[in-house]
Amino acid sequence: MDTDNWKKIKRVFDAALEKESGDRAHFLEEACADDSAMRREIDELLVAFGGAEGFLEAPAAEAMASLLVSTPHRLANGLRIGHYEIESMTGSGGIGEVYLAADKTLGRKVAIKVLNERHLAQESNLERFKHEAIAASALNHPNIVVIHEIGEFEGLTFLVSEYIAGRTLRKLILEKPLSEDEILDFAIQIASALEAAHKEGIIHRDIKPENIMIRPDGLAKVLDFGLAKLAVGAVGAAVPAVPVLDPNHTADGLIVGTVRYMSPEQASGKSVDSRTDIFSLGSVIYEMLTGVTPFEGETLAETVYNLKNLEAENPSRFAPAVSEELEAAVLKMLAKKRGDRYQSMEAVLADLRRILKQKEFETELRRSREAVGVDEDRKSSDWTSVSTGASSRSKTASVAVLPFDNLSDDRENDYFCEGLAGELLNALSKIERLKVAARTSSFTLKGKGRTLREIGEILKVKTVVEGSVRRSGDRVRIGVQLVDVDQGFSIWSETYDRELKDIYAVQDDIILAVAEALKIKLLSGEEAAVRKRYTQNTEAYLLYLKGVYYRWKLLPTEFQKCREYFQKAIDADPLFAPAYFGLSSYYGYGTAWGLLSIPTDEGWLKAEAALAKASEIDDSLPEIRLSLGAFSLVHYRDWETSGELFGETLEHAPNLPEIHHAYGFYLLTLGDLAGAIAESERALNLDPLSLTYSRFLGICLYFARRYDEAIRQFEKSLELDPENSDLLFLLGEVFGRQGMYSEAGSAFAAAMSLQGNAQAAAKFRGCSDEDSLFGAVREMADRNLSVMRSRIDEGHFVPAIGFARMCVLNGDVDEAFEWLRKAIDEHNVFPLLFNTDPFYDGLREDPRFKEVLNDIGFSSTE
């Protein structure tokens, strides 16, 4: 349509409207003359106008109000609410909408249900709903959906619960007839959830197939506890404030719930008790068996009439194969008078279980008679094949434990979250048939915005344990779940509300539940090992966790802090072996790598005393032998003993990455470079994101003079920690050996600028040939020497190796040998490397170097 044309049409159209309908045709014939296109257009418009009564009359928003209300997008995709990000809406209904959201801190999916405001008009409704929903969730029942949180956002009340990847029972019923075994299985699971709730005085009131989710592994989860209660108020009648925990006093006079599953007393608006859930469950089982609900009518009124006046038909009329026992049980659940029903869910459950047992027994019997061949009843349905899949998966069960999220306000509790996860990881590692990802790698992945699936791929595990901790005074709330990373669903989850002193019990619970969920039967002795408690003293334990937290910090200043906490833990419980071990490892590791500012002799003394104490109390820790081996090597340079101890540890704990690292180091000192590389690769395989092991592999390759590979390995290590100046120095060194001087220069420059030395960095940056590089290196060495000298003058301990290396670099060979000799007396790891480190290649021809090696003890082993 063009503008002029439309103007003409409008004019004629307007005029035509003015005419009486009888005159219109005549008018149009004249007005349009021979323009038949315009005539057709106007005719159409007139027809349209005739049918446009009411069209566009009510303003759009008013007409669309229901759309605005019923249509969601109250929460837009991508919206952040706290640490949740809305991904999509998955459904809506009378009570509110449901969204799929990502919990960004825990990296898991959750379901967020936003409740329609009108149900919450009364403050008391909301409170009661919260109370009931939380109470049900707090039962920690496997068949009850876990509620993570109930909160508010811009005036909306929302409920965050675990996301269950699965289908509703409704969907399942529609899809295919269920076998009686499946029906019994689901019924038992639902009944067991309801029984637990009833014991706490919580009635569901709205049991129906829509409220039951079935996971692909067959686990049933009951949704929406408390919501029916909320709907009670929604009807609008005055509801007296009812004590929720008293099942005998519920709101009277209101019809809530879905009529087809309602009990007669509910449909009559009478007060209800737990027996209403028994009736509803009966209706659900009836429908699973027959495909129809027991009182279904054409209309709502008819259904209500049937419900009140007619007896349910025997299920066997619709489904002849139904067993007599199950039929009898269902009919009893559906008795009109609640006094004629089962009187408790416990009784229902007992009967259902008995029926299942009976059936299993009969099946067994039949099977043994048939001896071989296919048994009709055992033909695997979808479900059984799925669950077989689950159990075959357990043969290669593997798990990673991520540090728990700290939901408490203060960062102080980070240590507790990491510590708890670390303890779980240790305990799970004791289970032989379970592959557990190593600590450093698992903990490094935390908070990097990776999905659980990605984490699973990196750590090569199929499941992940993750959780959160909220600590307030002496109470902790620990939420934990085991997630299948491929499927993205939670296999098991729990929330523990406990006192801090019960922390061990919670840990045990989690470990055993994880093992069970992964279908791992613990071997004899394993459960005891898992449950082993080293202290009964909560304070000591917490201090210990704090010590461990700092023990794993790479930054020397942070690392130093662990000593204080291990010591305090020992003070709190002088018989706490792991705390002694921690203290020993602080002194041993710190001394070996020159991290402490106390003389090496003193360091070894303290390390060994603490280790002796630890093994005196309990020498079952494999790490004790590992430490002894390391001390033998580094302190005593006793290759024979240390080789034996490492060998024993390797045998006992082949999956401990530390032992492969230690043994690799041992081989490296002996010049077995191929062996060292193999061991360091093993360590790295077990703990792929460990900076220590990654760097160590680089060192082994470098010592083996495999420079290209060493460069690649150091570059990979830098990806783990791009600001590690130590690595940059190593990288620069290898570049220098390869004659890549400008690369070496930039690596050194980067290292220097990370250390805050801009001047030196600038010197290195300009290097493009050997001369300029070595000039800059010499300058740096001189400056470092003067810095170290002044440190010593201030009374600090500086390892002699530092001086020795700087003297090598600035070319002062005599001075270098003096310091090398001093370094021998300091029993740390560095002299052990003289034998193979390319750094000393320039000195090897010097007879004094052979003496040095002799003094360390190398000649005797070669």
């Binding site: 503008t3 418009l45 106008f49 049918g51 303003p59 759009a60 997008h73 209904g93 799929l100």
Partner: protein, 191 residues
């Protein structure tokens, strides 16, 4: 929640610039008005129990009072604001309708059953509103003023008198234009 005084001044500035001939001004204003109206509408509707009565003009007036510094603008600015508000309202409804249709078409999780009756009603309305929006865009191509009238009347909830005043035309013109626009749109959406 009233906006920061700065925001109100900013909006007033945009309105003044528009009246001084800066055509881009309404692009700047649109997102602000959109958000305010959306918030108000959903807040308003959430507060209601049943039989939602929602008055678009009331919403727009409220948004105007909230967003615009009254001392800074004249009458023309005000009517321009209402024009933008009507467009914002249209966009809100279309966005809702599109979202509704998208989720009906696919990607729905079977997790939670939808209230079928409600879904059916909203779906029909959603389709209507999208069709109307598309037709209105076509109309604007050859008769911008008519499209503006429909926008003010239907999406802004303006009466004939208000529409006339806002556009600076007579009520009779509004009525006449309204008739042919309605006929044309009706035919388009029924095709």
């Amino acid at each position: 929640m009233a906006p920061e005084p700065d925001t109100a001044r900013e909006i007033s500035r945009i309105l003044r610039e528009w009246s001084e001939g800066n055509a881009d001004a309404s692009d700047e204003l649109m997102p602000l008005v959109y958000e305010e109206l959306r918030l108000q509408a959903s807040r308003y509707l959430r507060r209601e129990r049943q039989g939602h009565t929602l008055q678009t003009t009331a919403l727009i007036h409220e948004a105007y009072l909230k967003l615009v510094d009254q001392h800074e603008v004249n009458w023309q600015n005000r009517s321009h604001f209402f024009g933008i508000a009507a467009k914002a309202m249209k966009r809100i409804l279309v966005d809702y309708a599109r979202a509704r249709n998208r989720e009906k078409r696919g990607g729905r999780d079977e997790n939670v059953p939808l209230d079928e009756a409600l879904a059916a009603v909203s779906e029909e309305k959603s389709r209507e509103i999208i069709a109307l929006d598309e037709a209105l865009s076509r109309l604007a191509e050859f008769d911008a003023r008519q499209a503006e009238i429909v926008s003010l009347r239907y999406f802004g909830g303006f009466s004939i008198a208000e529409t006339a005043a806002s556009l600076g035309i007579s009520e009779a013109t509004v009525k006449r234009e309204w008739n042919s626009a309605k006929a044309w749109l009706k035919r388009e959406v029924s095709r």
